[in-house]
Amino acid sequence: MSENLPEAHAASHGTDVATHGEPFADPGLPAHEPRRTDIDERAAKRAERQVSLLFVVSMLATVGFIASYASIDADKLVYIFPLGHVSALNFALGMTLGVALFCIGAGAVHWARTLMSDHELPAERHAIEADDDVRNDVIEQFRTGAAESGFGRRKMIRNTLIGSMALVPLSGVVLLRDLGPLPEQKLAHTNWDEATPAKPIKLVNMNTDQPMKPEDVVQGSLTFAKPEGLEESAEDFQQRIAKDALMIVRIAPADLKDAKSAELGFEGILAYSKICTHVGCPISLYEQQTHHALCPCHQSTFDLADGARVIFGPAGHPLPQLKITTDEQGYLVATGDFDEPVGPSYWERPR
């Protein structure tokens, strides 16, 4: 089939393209046309002055930069139309620096365009590939070297060398092991697992920091909660809240479509994980009419009245729900962990 390749065409036709010859001959480089500044000394002088002026403006701008740095307070705000209130220092520094740099550039380019020679010159290209002599010579040398090394002949040395070279980078990979702990069951549990029926954990309102009673939860509202005892000052607060955060809603029991979900809740109060099961954004938008919760990151939409089933978007499974009840004093409490891992799914996650 190689006879059909263009290079074969090139060999047989002297050109690799359509069989017709090039119709219109190349007239060669056009003659140089002088610019105004090439023939008119006054124009050239004017261009020279323009270039210098740009450089002078640059100098002034740099002086302005230094002056602004020294004289303007960092927290001073000014009103500049149409930007609004901006930091005076930032504006002054940026503008002066911008002008100082821009004028150097504009001057240099103007100089090159008007006063430097604009004669176009051709330069030869040379093929990248070496010619046959060089090629054969190098290959010959390499063969000699290879033969002298005996690399091809001593198979045992060659193979063990390859083996050792292949294995040695593994040390580098192994050394990365201590970057972090093993996953174990860490992702499967939240800190709600410290709760037991005997020692339940109270749900604490995220905003008021108060334990919640059923009557505090208004129908149609969305409340965020955390486990009692988790203080913002705690060392590992970020890590814990990343999994423990709750979203509490109250839905009229008649509207609940999922029996199991209703069972996990308390009189229509449901506690779902706030962490989206897609890639883990906190869910923040709730529409009380439809009981739909929407994740702002990629718009996964969960029907909270129906066990937080995914009704739209890229999330792959419902939000985990926490079983809640009330303790003797009438506070909402959890008696155990979520029934499944919260947050994004992963290989080991049971399904």
Partner: protein, 553 residues
């Protein structure tokens, strides 16, 4: 003694006949040459020829914005504290006074509000990063649509591709450093994506974050990756990229006096030194002014990161919007495999398409040369219209990018256009498959139309706008014939023929069978150059026939 100095003299000054240095500068250059051999180095390069075309500036913008990023980046590292240790903020930005935050966030606040000029440098750094990635993309499009990636430049195409990918990722890491609410959301996204990797996902996640999300290691680790690892690799690639540009010499457009064997333009010294050097200052100046005027990434407005909070307009930087679009339009498919293991296709598939689309671009030069069987060097650029299939492929790719960008910003589109998010998402899902195909078809036709117009112009000349009335009453527009240089320019392109299947039987009448690969290659080549994929360019005979009288008006 005297004999010793005699031999000494003859050794140091053998038979030098060169002239004495004319001045101090030349003497210094002589001294340096004796140590570094600069004259031999400069010989080929001082008057090296560069062809001129505005689109050749795009690469320069990439280079200059990279330099600006490094300069400002060094400044920022002098003040930034890559630590996630908790501190309480007491700075001059009152709304956050007394709030707990990481040291990374606090020091970014400090750079923005206390350090004079710190805000400006932060903004220049971020703006330059955006300009850098944008310029790389556009530069790459220039190279693609003009066929400048063909032999001998395929490797340089790959280097450029790697620079783009590394640039995008370094942008992502840099964006994550201030530990503000927006950047934390981005990292959370990354965590979820890593977890979706089958089998090893949880291990990678634990090792990368040093434990569970978010942990306290991620900012210092990202910092090292952002300022040392990736920029180091990029610097090496960049130098290699530029060395190759120098070595291959620049491509040029077809035109009078320009051939595959020469390069026509103006010399490096002085014109290009002044133009390119000046252009660096223009780019820097504009970015500095932009940073004075337009705020980018106002981290103080987002607040410090908390895993249970989110800012509603969470959007990635535009160059990551492509992946964001993929992730948003993907249906949430999760399946169970191997008894109880979860395969999160909803996240995995987009994350596989993302590098696949990029990789397809990386290998395109190799695919095209395989399909066309073209093994020659190319230094003359193709006009996009003269390579309709390539141009259409490029346009289809850009349309895919844009449609995904719409998907990535579906919430913004929804609020601004008063549409439902769901409608937009469904539309984008369909568009993902349909729009690139339509774009391909339309672009190809358009290219062929332009080719036809070129042919018309060559054969009949340019419309002069002068209307003439013929003796018998007919009105015609006078066409002026083109100058030789225009005729040449418009017909200088090649029109390769598609590959053909080898004859069913060879010269001895023995049946030959073409393999599947050969057949596929012939089919593809047919798709590139076959009938309907290019307009035959005018021939001398056609031109002569028309200009010799018949049918000429």
């Amino acid at each position: 003694m005297s004999s010793a100095s005699g031999t000494n003299n003859s050794a140091s000054k053998p038979t030098s006949t060169r002239a004495k240095p004319a001045n101090k500068a030349e003497a210094t250059a002589d001294w340096v040459d004796g140590r570094l051999g600069i004259y031999s180095l400069a010989k080929a390069n001082l008057r090296k020829i560069f062809p001129d075309h505005w689109s050749f500036m795009l690469g320069e913008i990439c280079l200059y914005s990279f330099i600006i990023i490094i300069l400002t980046g060094v400044y920022l590292t002098l003040f930034f504290k890559p630590s996630m240790a908790e501190v309480v903020y007491h700075g001059s930005y009152l709304p956050l006074n007394g709030i707990k935050m990481s040291e990374a966030y606090a020091s970014t606040m400090n750079i923005s509000f206390e350090i004079r000029g710190g805000l400006l440098i932060r903004q220049i750094h971020h703006w330059a990063a955006l300009v850098f990635v944008a310029a790389m993309l556009v530069h790459m499009m220039r190279v693609f649509f003009t066929g400048a990636f063909r032999k001998p430049r395929e490797i340089n195409w790959v280097f450029g591709f790697l620079l783009l990918v590394l640039g995008m990722f370094d942008g992502f890491f840099g964006y994550s450093l201030p530990d503000d609410l927006l950047s934390g959301t981005g990292i959370r996204f990354m965590e979820g994506a890593i977890l979706a990797v089958p089998i090893v996902g949880t291990y990678i996640q634990m090792f990368l974050f040093g434990g569970e999300f978010p942990g306290t290691d991620i900012v210092p680790r990202f910092f090292t990756i952002h300022v040392l690892l990736i920029p180091g690799i990029m610097l090496g690639l960049l130098v290699a990229h530029l060395i190759l540009v120098f070595y291959h010499k620049h491509t040029q457009w077809a035109g009078p006096g320009k051939t595959e064997k020469n390069v026509v333009g103006m010399p490096l010294m002085p014109v290009y030194m002044a133009k390119a050097g000046g252009f660096f200052f223009l780019v820097f100046g504009i970015i500095a002014a932009m940073s004075a005027i337009a705020t980018i990434n106002p981290i103080w407005a987002y607040g410090p990161y908390r895993p249970d909070q989110v800012s509603t307009d969470a959007q990635p930087d535009w160059y990551m919007g492509f992946s964001e679009g993929l992730i948003r339009i993907m249906p949430g498919w999760e399946i169970s495999v191997w008894g109880g293991h979860t395969l999160n296709l909803g996240v995995m598939v987009p994350l596989a398409i993302f590098p696949a689309v990029l990789a397809a671009i990386a290998v395109y030069p190799f695919i095209e040369s395989w399909v066309t069987g073209d093994k020659r060097e190319h230094h003359i650029l193709d006009r996009p219209r003269n390579a309709p299939v390539r141009t259409a492929l490029g346009a289809a790719w850009i349309s895919l990018y844009l449609i995904l960008l719409v998907g990535g910003g579906n919430d913004l589109f929804a609020t601004h256009l008063h549409l439902s998010i769901n409608t937009i998402t469904y539309t984008v899902r369909v568009g993902f498959f349909v729009v690139p195909v339509l774009t391909f078809i339309v672009t190809k036709r358009w290219c062929l139309g332009l080719q036809r117009r070129d042919k018309e112009k060559v054969l009949h000349g340019r419309e002069s706008g002068i209307i003439k009335r013929l003796p018998h009453g007919e009105f015609v527009e006078v066409h002026t014939p083109l100058a030789q240089k225009d005729l040449h320019t418009l017909t200088a392109h090649e029109q390769p023929q598609p590959l053909e299947l080898p004859a069913e039987t060879d010269e001895n009448g023995v049946a030959r069978k073409a393999g599947v690969v050969t057949k596929a290659r012939v089919k593809l080549s047919e798709g590139f150059y076959g009938e309907g994929n290019q307009i035959a360019k005018p021939t001398t005979e056609e031109y002569q026939e028309i200009t010799s009288g018949h049918g000429h008006h």
